[in-house]
């Protein structure tokens, strides 16, 4: 079940420079597991020590922010696009 994952510029070096990569899984968490198995450098950037989505990363399934869906349990199906965007934040 291929899912397209779009990566922001600063994460691409962790994925051999690719702007988008294919991954498989039934949930966003599965997709991340597949992705980080192949590109271990992405792991710290996507999830924190507790296994949740990293605080300063936004993850979208077809433009819907998964934090307002089921976070890493958000379901994905063939043809979905998972986009990763660094949050815009500061103090």
């Amino acid at each position: 079940m291929p899912i397209e994952v779009r990566l922001p510029t600063l994460l691409r070096p962790h994925a051999d420079g690719a702007a988008s990569v294919s991954a498989t899984g039934a949930t966003v968490g599965d997709v991340f597991a597949d992705l980080t198995a192949r590109y271990p450098g992405l792991s710290d950037q996507l999830v924190d020590e507790s296994g949740s989505i990293h605080k300063f990363v936004n993850v979208y399934r077809n433009d819907d922010d998964v934090r307002y869906l089921d976070q890493l349990d958000t379901k994905v199906t063939d043809g979905d696009v998972v986009a990763i965007l660094p949050a815009v934040a500061g103090g």
Binding site: D63, D65, L85, P86, A87, V88, G90
Partner: protein
């Protein structure tokens, strides 16, 4: 200084949108995104839209652009052939100068222009910066009438 600092050009309406949104957000910080043209990977300084966003942090000390507003702004920018070229946020009780947290977070978007609005005094103060490799460079701001 090792990088260019474009002149940020805002219309009076955009200026009012930004500053008004900052006052509307009190007592919390307010934030928004700037959409505009990019040439050779760098913002030209022109702004086609100033988009107010929700501050997901709902805090007087920090801000985080609501993720839903961020993707909506990105899609709106793409639809007009532009990109997100910067952001703004308010400092309710301090100078219009990037905080250490602002500098740290700017790592993700080094090409952007960062607008700070201080509401500390009776009159708002708006300033703009590039922040790259933890170096802060102020940009000239021009209001187009």
């Amino acid at each position: 200084m090792g990088f260019a600092s474009p002149t940020l050009r805002l219309t009076e309406d955009q200026y009012r949108t930004i500053v008004g949104h900052c006052y509307d957000g009190l007592p919390n910080e307010a934030c928004g995104l700037l959409v505009g043209p990019v040439s050779n990977g760098e913002p030209s300084g022109a702004v086609s839209e100033a988009r107010p966003c929700r501050n997901e942090a709902a805090s007087a000390l920090t801000y985080r652009v609501d993720g839903r507003d961020q993707i909506a702004a990105m899609r709106a920018a793409e639809a007009r052939g532009d990109e997100i070229v910067g952001c703004w946020h308010s400092h309710t009780h301090t100078d219009a100068y990037p905080s250490p947290t602002d500098v740290e977070q700017a790592t993700w978007y080094p090409e952007w222009v960062y607008v700070l609005v201080s509401l500390r005094d009776d009159e708002p103060v708006l300033r703009a910066y590039r922040i790259r490799d933890e170096v802060i460079a102020e940009c000239r701001v021009v209001l187009d009438r």
